[in-house]
Assembly symmetry: C2
Homo-oligomer: 187 residues x 2
């Protein structure tokens, strides 16, 4: 992990606790993101919080649902990127900020694996950033396919990582990310 590595925490908002989303996988995601945030703060590495402000009427992510969950609350000086679509790079200044701060590597965490996290990771890679996705610091929900078939959140999550693997991102864990962070840089 080099000093140009930013931690990105996507959409970990109270609105995702709304029961209308259905069953979720990986209940430890918030705890893992919290551990990554703590380590990033100790190492004084850059952190970007991303908040989704839904424009859809009645969305659980609008209004009070936009509030960050307690475990991942930003500190006063940490930047918060507000977005209105899945990708944190569309309609925001995230790319400009990363380039201004000479950041070339992103460690991506948050909700949900197959929607906002995958889309943001794909764009990060296509914009030329090196992307890592932390498999146990992301999560998603059960989904119904276009043919009406049911898919568990665990499987939707797994396949989102399969799609990203090698083409867009290095798939890592919280544990190996923390271990890499603690290793002294060479030289």
């Amino acid at each position: 992990m080099n000093t140009a590595t930013a931690l990105l925490v996507i959409d970990v908002q109270k609105g995702f606790d709304d029961p209308s989303w259905g069953r979720r996988n990986n209940p430890s995601a918030e705890e893992n993101i919290s551990a990554l945030l703590a380590a990033w703060r100790v190492a004084e590495l850059p952190i970007f919080h991303v908040r989704h402000l839904s424009t859809e009427p009645g969305s659980p992510l609008g209004g009070a649902g936009g509030v960050f969950k307690d475990a991942v609350r930003p500190l006063a000086h940490e930047p918060v990127i507000e977005k209105y679509v899945n990708s944190a790079f569309i309609g925001t200044d995230l790319e400009t900020r990363l380039r201004e701060e000479m950041l070339d590597t992103l460690v991506v965490t948050g909700l949900t694996t197959d929607h906002c996290v995958s889309t943001t990771t794909r764009m990060a890679a296509n914009l030329g950033f090196s992307a890592h996705i932390v498999s146990d610091a992301t999560a998603t929900f059960d989904r119904i396919g276009p043919d009406g078939k049911f898919h568990t959140a665990e499987h939707v999550h797994e396949m989102a990582l399969v799609h990203l693997h090698e083409e867009f991102a290095k798939v890592v864990t919280t544990r190996n990310t923390l271990e890499n962070l603690q290793q002294p840089s060479p030289g």
Copy 2:
């Protein structure tokens, strides 16, 4: 289907016939795209061909692999968008062209479902276009996950559509797209 609907054909290049990609699903994709192209030409609706020019040394999509397959060859007046990453919207003028021509709906086809097709569809939706993805006019390859587990092309394809469904795109078939095209517009 309204007159502001463009057909997008992504990366249907001879380079994807290289055996190094492994086993593919949906061998009928090219035939279905060819049928859509024919119908779009008869209806005089806009078509955009996308070609991936790989910058990776030895990639089957570089050099002669950049040539379009015979079944989907562009006509002389049809625009070809050249791209270097997965998304047809990054490093290209596709968005500008669509807006200049007042096109608001995209029917997306091509290779591969989980990589370039999914990424382009996600960005299309996030940029405000209405996206349709034609399930049987796309295809992908067997993939190995980050844990070394094998996934068939059929399943990788299916799950890529599950991820896009309702959030980013309407999942349609060649047949219902052709039927909609032949229906007279209301009014």
